[in-house]
Amino acid sequence: MERLSYTLSAPIPAGGTKPRAIVGVVASGNLEVLLERALAPDLCTVEIATAAHGFAEIWAAVVADFVARRAAGGLRIAINDGGARPDTVALRLAQGARLIAGDAA
């Protein structure tokens, strides 16, 4: 497992009031994202445990774009990754942000 950790300042605070949300499944090419409302609303942390080694640069880019574009402020995010592609990672993160904001089940 490769472990990566990012702390970013988040321009958009997460919506809703749910304490936590989880999306996705750890499988080949897939990942789970656990989001917990646990930080100051202008901060977001992302911790990743991934089976695919050597993709730190891509993770950093995906996470930075996510925090810049979506409502991620105040979230402590933990990811278990089964070697998902960046598009899948971005999609799950966005689904997680939507879920914790309470827009959809």
Partner: protein, 548 residues
């Protein structure tokens, strides 16, 4: 005095030599190898029928059994290198030279044998190009073909998988070549005559159907959310604004997703009857829901598809069918239709470079191209107007007066920025170039040239290359939809932003598409079983695709 009929005499000699193994035209399967030794000559150009679908497998196996001491240095001119025996003949020294189109399942082995020098390669063609050469400079002396049944006069019934057979026979038989057909059975009367018997010289009864690969069956269960997103982009961002009614789809999952989104997402956009009405397309099972929902007016097919025969026969308004009721396919005609009569080709590839060149060839796999380079090219000979063609032409060349301006065929590459195993779709340099250097080829095996490509669709958006005014803009437009690949991360952000303002790059949100809506529940069928149900039980998928 010159003898003007040497070829006729040569064929007569071959027939005479073969006759000792035959009763009338019928040769026993057990005698095939010695029979072939009798009718073939060293150095012959031989067309062994086989494309990406049907295979003259019995004849292929028999050819691999002949004595290389007797028959050697054959020049194989065939559409597909698909069966192991297709390469065995080179390994054994029976054949030496090769001109072909497609080699999907043998991609790795053919690469090894090319590197090892066991095969002298002419070229990797597109189907139509190879067929054309059958009539000019690659005319077969012997054709080994496949059909469903034959009568004792050699009249052949090819069934739904007619495919290459008429073309191969036309080129061979009318230029004094010899035609040998394997058939599943010999009958008193064939259901319809696909090949007249006077063009067929020998027939062998295989006692079983020829092999067919279900290449065009895509399991909806394997379609991902990202593929659905790319399909939504294509429908809303290309099909709708250009009004694409006449088109061809590749065989990837992205285009299968488009087919399955028509009755749901497409319906919601009010596009039924406006797009996707006329097709050059194999009988894709994934198109069944759209056909059943009334989207499709007609489809001409290159070949058939395993399990689709009953469905096709029950939908003669949609498909081309014969007097017997079953599909009549024809690869050469359908490729021509795809080239001249379609306004859009959309397909996937393995690599795209920063000029937009694409290829499915990688260093260790030479899969060939099939029909993609043909359908994925702009036909310079086209003269009839259509709305999408004129609109694309205007985008590419706004300054030329309309009456003198060529239209453009839309050639779209669709895919995810990363493929299996996190391999990036976008590369600085195609593997095909390294291959060409290694094999000392004058041409790199490029599938679709950059100047033919009009759009690239990924989950990041659509790049409209028609609107790019120079190589720089092209490169940044491509980088702009290359996502998190290295190509994408090295984009010029400011220039990409300007291209987006001009509509050269359109993101999902620019088209009013929320990536979170790209859900599998949008698919009109989510499994092969759904397809079978949608067909009213007429589609009977092969066992390997079943989970019931």
């Amino acid at each position: 005095m010159r003898d003007w009929a040497t070829q006729k005499a040569a064929r007569a000699a071959r027939i005479a030599a073969g006759a000792s193994f035959a009763r009338g035209k019928v040769v026993q399967a057990a005698d095939l190898a010695p029979f072939l030794e009798a009718v073939l000559r060293p150095g012959d150009r031989v067309c062994l029928e086989g494309d990406n679908q049907k295979q003259a497998d019995l004849l292929a196996d028999a050819l691999a059994e002949v004595d290389p001491g007797v028959i050697h240095d054959l020049h194989m001119v065939q559409s597909g290198i698909v069966l192991p025996s297709h390469l065995d003949v080179f390994e054994k020294g029976i054949a030496r030279r090769l001109d072909y189109s497609y080699s999907g399942p043998q991609a790795a082995r053919i690469a090894r044998m090319l590197y090892g020098g066991q095969i002298a390669l002419g070229a990797v063609h597109t189907y139509l190009e190879l067929f054309a050469r059958y009539f000019i400079d690659l005319t077969p002396q012997v054709a080994l073909i496949a059909a469903v049944s034959a009568d004792r006069d050699g009249n052949l019934y090819t069934g739904p998988n007619t495919e290459d057979t008429p073309t191969v026979v036309e080129a061979t038989s009318f230029k004094d070549g010899l035609v040998v057909a394997q058939v599943g059975e010999i009958v008193d009367r064939v259901p319809r005559v696909d090949i007249p018997g006077d063009r067929v010289h020998f027939v062998v009864e295989a006692g079983r159907p020829f092999h067919v690969e279900p290449l065009f069956t895509r399991d909806p269960g394997a379609i991902t959310e990202t593929q659905i997103l790319t399909a939504m982009l294509a429908i809303k961002g290309l099909y709708a604004p250009y009004g694409i009614r006449r088109l061809n789809h590749g065989i990837g999952f992205n285009t299968a997703a488009i087919e399955l989104l028509l009755p749901t997402y497409g319906e919601k956009l009010g596009l039924r009857g406006q797009v996707c009405t006329h097709w050059a397309l194999n009988p894709h099972p994934t198109l069944i829901p759209a056909i059943e929902a009334g989207w499709v007016e007609q489809i001409h097919c290159f070949g058939s598809e395993v399990g689709m025969d009953d469905y096709i026969a029950a939908r003669p308004d949609i498909y081309f069918t014969g007097a017997d009721g079953s599909l009549r396919s024809n690869r050469a005609f359908c490729q021509t239709a795809g080239l001249y009569a379609c306004d859009l080709f959309i397909g996937s590839t393995l690599q795209v470079d920063i000029s937009g060149h694409s290829s499915t060839v990688t260093t260790n796999r030479i899969a060939g191209f099939g029909g993609a380079p043909n359908m994925g090219s702009d036909p310079r000979g086209r003269r009839h107007p259509s709305e999408p063609w004129l609109k694309a032409g205007a985008e590419a060349d706004p300054d030329t007066p309309a009456p003198l301006r060529r239209g453009r065929k839309l050639v779209v590459q669709i895919g995810e920025t990363f493929g299996d195993g996190n391999v990036p779709l976008f590369v600085e340099r195609l593997d095909a170039l390294a291959l060409a250097e290694k094999l000392d080829l004058p041409l790199a095996p490029v599938m679709v040239y950059g100047d033919d490509v009009t759009h690239i669709v990924t989950e990041e958006g659509i790049a409209n290359l028609l609107l790019c005014r120079d190589a720089d803009e092209r490169e940044q437009a491509i980088r702009g939809v290359a996502g998190y690949t290295e190509i994408g991360r090295r984009r010029d952000a400011a220039m990409v932003a300007r291209l987006r303002e001009r509509g050269v790059i359109r993101r999902p949100e620019d088209l009013g598409i929320d990536p979170l809506d790209a859900d599998r529940s949008l698919l009109a069928a989510r499994s092969i079983k759904d397809l079978a149900l949608a067909s009213g039980g007429l589609y009977r998928p092969p066992s390997r695709f079943r989970n019931w």
